[in-house]
Subunit: 339 residues, 2 copies
DNA sequence: TTGAAAGCGCTACCAA
DNA sequence: TTGGTAGCGCTTTCAA
C-alpha cells in the first residue's frame, strides 16, 4: 500500500542506499541520478517513514507537552506558543492533559518515553522529581514551564511569580484595601505558593498581615471552586469582616470570584475588587474586565522550546532558570476602597 | 543507556522471544518464567519501544488532530475532549494548529503520515479533498470534526449548523428584530456558510430578507476582525439603517462585536442584541453573558474519536455523518427590540 | 514451552 | 560515485 524505500529503489533501478542519500541530501550522488530518484519518489508519492528512521538512531522530532488541562485558556495559549515554535524548529508535539492526577502524569511520562520523544515540556505543577529522574537517566531532556520543579536537572522557564504576587499586593494596597482574601490553586502548585508569598510580602511591607483563614485553596475545577471559595470569603454574615478585595491566583479562579460577587449582589469593583493572574483572553472579556497580572505566555512557550531544543542539539548547559517579567494589567475589576 | 529487549533477555537468561511474549501477554510461557522476566523488566526499568513495535506492523497508537488554532477556546475544548477519549482508548494525540494556512495544513498532513499516525481528526474548515486523498489511499482513516468535507471517504461529526442558524434567527425574530447583521468566519468555512443559510431561512420564514451588505466575513484573527466588522455594521452614520441585532458565527466574533458595541457607546442588549455560536467558556463570562448556540463540544470530540478508532478496528463502515443537536442558550446579550 | 531467525523501513559504514 | 550489508528494537512464524 504505502511505498517504501525499496519500491523507490527498484523503480529507479538503484540501491536503497542511493535513495537514502537523496532523502537526506548526504553523500555523493550524481545530479542526474538525484533528479531521477526524486522523480520516482514523487511519482510513487513516497514519504520516508520517520518511524524507521528513528529506529536507526535518528531523532523522532517529537516533543511531549504535559499540562494539567488543555481547555484552560492559559495552557491552551501555552500550547499554541509551544507548538508554533516547535514547528518552526521542525518538531511536532504530543499534548497530554493530566487533569492534575498524579497517576495520569506517570502514565503519560512512561508513554512519551516509549514513544521516544526527543524531549518533554512539563507544565503540571507537582512535586514529581522521582517521576522525572528515570527519564533524565535515559537522557530525555525535560524543561519545566510556568512551574517550579524540585529536580536539579530540569531547566525552568517561568514568570516571576513572587514579584507578580507583590505587584498585585501593592496595587490593592495603593487602592486602600486592607481586608483582603486570597484564592489559590491547590497548594502543591508551586506558582500559587509563590504568588501568595509575594502578595503577603507586599502587605507586610505596609505592616499588614493576612490571616490564614482568608486564604482558600481550590480543587482542580478552577471556575467552580473559585466561585465556591469566593462565596465563603464574601459570605454576607461576615459583613463587617468581609474582604474588600480578592486576589485570585489565576484568571479562571478570578472569574469564579466575579460570578460569586454577582450572585451575592456585590458590585465589582465598588463593593469588592478582584485581581487575577495570567492575563489570558478571559481577562479581557469579562464584565468588568479583569485587572490581572500578565504572564508573557507567548514568550514563555517559545523560550521553553528553545531551551529544550538547545539541550537536544548541544551538550552546553543553557540557563537553569529563565525568569520572565510579570506585568500588572489594570482593568476594571479593581477600584479604591470606598468606606 | 536505555534498556532494550536484549538486555532483559540476557539478564533473565531467556530469549528475546520469551520477553516479547510476556510484554504482549501472548504465547505460552510458564508462570515462573513470566514472573522472572517481569521482575527483570522492573529492575532494569525497561519500557518497550513503541517505535520498534510499530515498525514490525503494530499500530503507533497515535492520532493526529488538526485544528486552525488551539488557543481558540472552541478548539481547545475540542482538543480536550478528543485527548480524553483517545487516552481512554489507549491512543495519544499529536495536535497541529494550521493557522488557517493551506500550505501548513498540507505540511502537517505529510508529517502525520510520515509519523505513521493511525488516524487523523481534522477540524480545519477548508476544501481539501485533494489533500486528503493521498492519505486515504494509504488507508489512513480520517474523520472530520465540526466541519463539512467534500471527500466522500471522510466521516463527519458535527452539529446541525443550519438548524443552529435557524435557532438564532428565530430567537431574534421572536424578539422583534428585523434589521440584522451577520458576522461570519471566512466563507470557505462550511459551518459558517451553513449557519448563515439557516439564519436566512428563519428570516425568510417571516418574509424577511437579509441584504448581502449586512453579511460580513472575517479573516483569521477572529476577535479583532469580529470587532472590526461589527464596527462597520454598527457605524454611527448609518444610524437609521443600523442593525438592532448581530448574529456572529462563533463566540470569539461575538465578543469582538461586544467590544465594538461598547466602543461605540451602544448598550447590549438595549441598543443592539448579539448572538454567538459555540457556547465556549467565553460565552458565560462576558458582560453581558452571551446568548449563543451551543455545540455539544464534549460529545463531538468523544464521538469523533470513537468513529475513528472504530474504523481502525473494523472494516465496518460506521456512520458517514453524525449530526448532533445544537441548542440555543439564552443569556443576557439579547433582548426585545425597543424602538 | 522455548528459541533461532527472518523481517519491518531506514541509515551509515565500507568496499568496490 | 555507487551499492552491499549490518544493524536499530521488536514481533512473529517455525522448529526444536
Amino acid at each position: 500500500m504505502k511505498a517504501t524505500i525499496y519500491d523507490v529503489a527498484r523503480e529507479a533501478g538503484v540501491s536503497i542506499a542511493a535513495v537514502s542519500q537523496v532523502i537526506n541530501g548526504k553523500g555523493k550522488i550524481s545530479e542526474e541520478r538525484r533528479q531521477e530518484i526524486f522523480l520516482v519518489m514523487e511519482r510513487l508519492n513516497y514519504k520516508p517513514s520517520l518511524i524507521a528512521a528513528a529506529l536507526t538512531g535518528k531523532k523522532t522530532y517529537t516533543l511531549g507537552l504535559l499540562v494539567p488541562d488543555i481547555s484552560n485558556p492559559f495552557f491552551a495559549e501555552i500550547a499554541h506558543a509551544v507548538e508554533d515554535q516547535a514547528d518552526s524548529l521542525g518538531y511536532s508535539v504530543v499534548i497530554c492533559s493530566t487533569h492534575n492526577e498524579d497517576d495520569r502524569l506517570e502514565r503519560y511520562l512512561t508513554l512519551l518515553q516509549q514513544k521516544s520523544v526527543d524531549g518533554i515540556i512539563i507544565g503540571t505543577g507537582m512535586d514529581h522529581a522521582e517521576l522525572l529522574d528515570p527519564l533524565l537517566e535515559k537522557s530525555i531532556p525535560i524543561v519545566s514551564i510556568a512551574r517550579e520543579t524540585t529536580s536539579p536537572h530540569v531547566q525552568t522557564v517561568l514568570v516571576g511569580d513572587r514579584l507578580g504576587g507583590q505587584l498585585a499586593g501593592r496595587h490593592l494596597l495603593a487602592l486602600g484595601h486592607t481586608r483582603i482574601g486570597i484564592i489559590a490553586e491547590q497548594l502543591k502548585v508551586s506558582s500559587s505558593r509563590e504568588r501568595i508569598g509575594g502578595f503577603r510580602e507586599a502587605l507586610a511591607g505596609s505592616g499588614l498581615e493576612l490571616p490564614d483563614a482568608r486564604v482558600k485553596a481550590s480543587g482542580s475545577d478552577l471556575l467552580r471552586d473559585g466561585k465556591r471559595k469566593a462565596l465563603e470569603l464574601l459570605q454576607p454574615q461576615s459583613q463587617p469582616e468581609r474582604p474588600t478585595a480578592l486576589f485570585c491566583c489565576n484568571d479562571l479562579l478570578a472569574i469564579g470570584a466575579l460570578q460569586a460577587a454577582k450572585e451575592l449582589g456585590l458590585r465589582v469593583p465598588e463593593d469588592v475588587s478582584i485581581v487575577g493572574f495570567d492575563n489570558t483572553i478571559l481577562a479581557s472579556v469579562t464584565d468588568p474586565p479583569l485587572t490581572t497580572v500578565a504572564q508573557p505566555i507567548e514568550a514563555m512557550g517559545k523560550l521553553a522550546v528553545e531551551v529544550l531544543v538547545g539541550k537536544l542539539n548541544s551538550t552546553s548547559a543553557g540557563p537553569a532558570r529563565s525568569v520572565l517579567e510579570p506585568e500588572l494589567i489594570i482593568r476594571g475589576s479593581t477600584a479604591a476602597v470606598s468606606e
